[in-house]
Every structure is written in C-alpha cells, then in structure tokens.
C-alpha cells in the first residue's frame, strides 16, 4: 500500500486525561462521519480517548480494591454514551486506555451501554499484561528496584505497553479496544499499524505515527487549549475549544486539524508547543513502540486552509528493549492549611503567622506560600519567598503544607493553622485544612519478555 493508493486514516481524540470535558466527543464524531460520507469508500476513522496519568492508575486500583466491578475510568459513561451508537453504526472504531485498572469491567460496561442504546452487540477486545501488581511480578520488581521497595505498601504496578496488542486486536476484528496502561501515543500507533499493515520494526513510520499520537494525546491542547494568553496568543471560542483530528497517510506523515463547528485554533504555534510537550531529548522520545526523533521535524500551515497543520521530518529508531514500569505505593500524609488576612499590613500579618507556624512546627519541613504574592513559582525551602520583599499586599492568603509518614505528625500542622484563629496575628479568617493520603511512585525497567502482553476478543458470556 502507498500514500497515493490509500486515503489517509482519520483519528480523532475525545479526551486528554481522566476528568476531561465529557462533551468533547460529539463534534469529533460528527466531523469524522461527515468526512467518511464525503470521502472515498476506503476511508476509515477511529476515535481515541486518553484518560491515564502517572497516578490515575493507582487511584483506579484503590477503587477496584473496594469494588471488583470498579477501577476503570469513572467518566466512561459520560464520555462514551453520547457517541457510542453513532460510532458503531458508521464503522468508527474506538481505542482507549479507559480500562485503567479493570479493562474487563469497562468492556462489560460498554456492552451494557450498547444494549441500552439498542445497538447490535459490539466486538470488544481487552488488552492486558500491563498490570504487574500480582505476586509473581512483585518478586521481579523487587529484583529490579532492590531495597527501595522494602517495607513499601504497593498500590499498583504497571508497565507502559505498546501498540502491538492493539493492532492485533483490530486485525482480529475488534470494534472497540479497551486497554489499561498502554503508552499514550500507542493509542494512535495501534490503529495505524493495523490499517496500513506496518511491521513492528518499521521505525520511521512508527516514529511518525507516534508523534501524530503525541499531538492527539492531550486532547484540546493542540487546538488552542492550554495555549491562550490574551494579547499574545489569542484563541477564538476557547469556551468551546475543539478536539483534534489527525489524518495519517500510509507513510505515517500527518496533518492535524480539529472538529468542525468548534472553537479554538490549530496553528504552527499550537502544534509546536504540543510537539515538544513532555519531550526531553527531541532526538530520542522513548515509547514502547519506537524511539521517535523530531530533531529535524518541521511544521507547516497548509496553504489555503484554516486550522490545518502538517508535521514532517519525523524519524524513528529501534524501540527500547525494556518496558518502563511505574510502581505506586502508599506515601504517608499531606497536610495543608490556609488562612486569610486582609486590609492594612495584611502581608506583614500573614508573614508573622508563617513565622509562628515555623516555630511551633519544629521538625516538620514546612512549605509556605503567600497566595496573591508568591504561591506557585516559589520553592519548598522558601528561598524565593525570603528574597521577595513585603510589598504591602492588602489581601493575602497564607498557605502552608508539609508531608509525613506518620499521620499524627502531619495533623500537627492542621491543628496549628486552626489555632491561629485565637493565638495568631490579628484578623485571620477563613481557615481551611486538609489531610490527604499520598501516593508515591518508583520507576524501573523490565525486559519485554518479562511482561506477557496479550489481547482477548470477549465473547457474549464475558460481557454479560
């Protein structure tokens, strides 16, 4: 197959994280249907949802512990129900990692949803093998991580697996592929591999599709979301920002656009920002499928079109021999407290309150923020705050935070902030405190052979 013989594959993305807008998919699916109707008979389209981040899976694993039928994307129903019947009717296939810690339960939920919508039972595949929290793999992880793992209470352990099982599931006829921790760009690479019949060592094509997937994986971010900066980066209709659609050709080259009748914009600037987002060495963007290389990448606005940008010059190198594995464990407690001061000398009173807390909370490493003056760019050690003079702020909220493995130690902070009501500087009000259990992560590498990746096309009995 070559680029001229086959129309580009259309891939729309309708979620960039767990918690993204649930009305995103509608316009994406409308646009895909319009392109399929207006395009050549061989045109195919996919819809992807990317809903996992570093800690999302650990939270999902905790939910699954409480309820064996839970542990998949909590917004699955709200995200998928509005478009599921139309996707099935129009042959738009769906690939997502919204299975999180429980892809089978997610698949059952989707099957139920299809029944309720009166659609024919869809062919659903689950991709598994990423979950390494079972006893057999914990021994292996212990080998890889060594003494770091001693005494830790493990919540989740997942390998970032790649596109091959997704492509295999699609080859087997799956209309919907439900994954857990696959790498974000693999949600795009899998459909492209299957559609164009690429081999798993076709590095340049895989590299290109990986960067197309990278542009899609954060949803609205390539369409002007997370971009607007009034006067410098104006974005029309940000309140109804569109989600992206990539057109990928048989060589993996892509153009990126967005859903019709939506706000936002796709420009060279939005594409460049997303291209470099969370990339370290641009010549070696590591994924389980390929080492993508954007050192010579180029982006061009397509002449005569609005909101269409082409990405070219991407290359690929042989994939890593190991999978990255994230191990999440219980990490003690985060304690936070806030109190406000207003009017004359408010900042001085807030700074005095911080001094009182520092002295009272000896032994706890305290972070201090003055919301309204310096609360984001500062550092835990307080160097920047110490360098920032009292500017006479008249409306300031003091925030303090600390963490400790011992809950009682962390609670000292919340109690001391509360006590400022009567024991602290004048006029403090609006105390809020929170004590939150923390999840921490460790990372390691495991050889691919140690992670048995597989897919299964689920039958009616599994979906009942």
């Amino acid at each position: 197959m070559n680029a001229t013989a086959s129309p580009p594959l259309l891939i729309g993305c309708a979620a960039g994280f767990s918690g993204d807008r649930t009305d995103a998919a509608g316009p994406v699916v409308d646009t895909l249907i319009a392109r399929l109707q207006g395009g050549p008979a061989e045109q195919r389209a996919f819809l992807i949802f990317e809903t996992l981040a570093e800690r999302t899976l650990a939270l999902a694993q905790l939910r699954r512990r409480d309820n064996p039928d839970a542990g998949y994307e909590p917004l699955l129903d709200a995200m998928l129900r509005p478009v599921l019947a139309r996707c099935l009717a129009r042959g738009i296939r769906i690939v997502s990692n919204f299975g999180a810690a429980n892809p089978r339960a997610a698949a059952r939920h989707i099957a139920r949803m299809a029944r309720e919508l009166g659609a024919a039972a869809p062919r659903i595949a689950v991709v598994e093998g990423d979950d390494l929290s079972g006893p057999a793999h914990l021994a292996l992880l212990h080998e890889a991580l060594g003494a770091q793992m001693d005494g830790l209470r493990i919540v989740s352990a997942n390998a970032y697996i790649g596109a091959e099982p997704i492509a295999a599931a699609l080859d087997a006829g799956a209309q919907i592929v439900v994954c857990g921790r696959v790498a974000d760009p693999s949600l795009t690479v899998g459909p492209a591999m299957s559609h164009f019949g690429w081999r798993a060592d076709d590095w340049h094509r895989l590299g290109r599709a990986t960067m197309a997937g990278h542009l899609l994986e954060c949803g609205a971010q390539v369409c002007g979301g997370y971009f607007a900066d009034p006067g410098y980066k104006n974005v029309p209709g940000l309140e109804e920002v569109g989600f992206p659609i990539a057109e990928i050709d048989a060589d993996g080259h892509c153009t990126i656009g967005k859903a019709d009748n939506t706000g936002g914009l796709v420009s060279k600037a939005t594409v460049k920002e997303q291209l470099l987002y969370e990339v370290h060495d641009p010549s070696a963007y590591l994924t389980p499928d390929v080492v993508a290389d954007i050192a010579e990448a180029q982006v061009d606005q397509l002449p005569g079109t609005a909101n269409r940008v082409a990405l070219s010059g991407v290359r690929g190198h042989a994939r890593p021999s190991h999978y990255k594995v994230n191990v999440c464990h219980e990490g003690g407690w985060l304690a936070e407290g806030e109190i406000s001061y207003a009017g004359p000398r408010a900042e001085a009173r807030a700074r005095l309150a911080a001094d009182v807390l520092r002295k009272r909370l000896d032994g706890l490493a305290l972070r201090v923020d003055l919301i309204g003056a310096l609360s984001i760019l500062g550092d835990d050690a307080g160097r920047m705050l110490a360098d920032t003079p009292d500017t006479g702020l008249r409306d300031v909220r003091l925030r303090v935070a600390a963490s400790h493995t011992d809950r009682a130690q962390a609670e000292r902070l919340t109690r001391e902030v509360m006590a400022l009501y009567t024991c602290g500087p004048a006029g403090g009000g609006g105390v809020r405190t929170a004590l939150t259990p923390r999840l921490n992560t460790l990372s390691c590498l495991l050889p691919r052979e140690a992670v048995p990746v597989r897919f299964e096309l689920l039958g009616a009995e599994a979906l009942a």
């Binding site: 641009p282 984001i376 992560t441 990372s443």
Partner: protein
C-alpha cells in the same frame, strides 16, 4: 561594534512562547521564537547557565538545552526542579505547569532592527 543603544532589553515573552511539561521530578520547557529571525538571538542568549540562574531558587541539579532550528525552537530540560514532582511536591502546582512563565520573564537584548518582529506590548 554595537553600542548599548543598538539594543533594547525586553522580556523573553515578547520574542518567544513556550510550554512546560513534566515527568517525575524533571521539567521540560520549550521556547519557540515568534519569528524565524528572532531564533538566532535566542540561541545565543538563552544559555543553560543563564536558565539555571533564572531557576536558582529551585536548585536544578542539571540544565540541558536542545536546539531545534527547523522549528525555531529549543527545549530545556531541568532536573530535580519540581521539589519532588507530582507525587512528592508540596507546591500547589506540583507539576510545575507555570514554570515556562518564569523562563519567559527573563530579559533578553534585541537589536533595534528586529524590534518590529516582537509580539505584544
């Protein structure tokens, strides 16, 4: 030789835009020139040393710079700059999402003939 009056000093955001990403305790910050002709002066002035100085409060253990001339962009990677990263940081912005704006506030010197290419006021 240029005299000081041949240049104006402006904040970096007038010459470039950018975005921050994170993985663990590591931050990456892109800097993308608003105009191709502004890129060479960014490459000259935004040295890893100057960027490390801009982030001195966060005490990065290493600052790497990757140049992307075809994109008129560069990528900075700052290690150990997130006070532990999303799982460990006490910062309200545990991902360090705002850090590109700390970088974009750096002063740079722009030759007068290039001033019309700058963005914003």
């Amino acid at each position: 030789m240029n005299t000081p009056t041949d240049f104006v000093e402006v904040p970096l955001y007038r010459a470039a835009h950018g975005r921050t990403g994170d993985k663990g305790d590591r931050s990456n910050i892109s800097v993308i020139a608003w105009h191709p002709e502004l890129y060479p002066l960014l490459a000259e002035q935004l040295t890893p040393e100057r960027v490390a100085a801009q982030f001195r409060h966060r005490a990065p253990s290493r600052v790497q710079r990757f140049l992307l001339p075809r994109l008129h962009a560069m990528n900075f990677v700052l290690d150990a700059v997130l006070d532990g990263g999303v799982n460990d940081a006490l910062n309200l912005d545990a991902h360090g999402k705002a850090l590109s704006f700390l970088l974009l506030d750096m002063p740079i010197r722009v030759p007068r003939p290039l001033v019309p290419l700058l963005a914003g006021p």
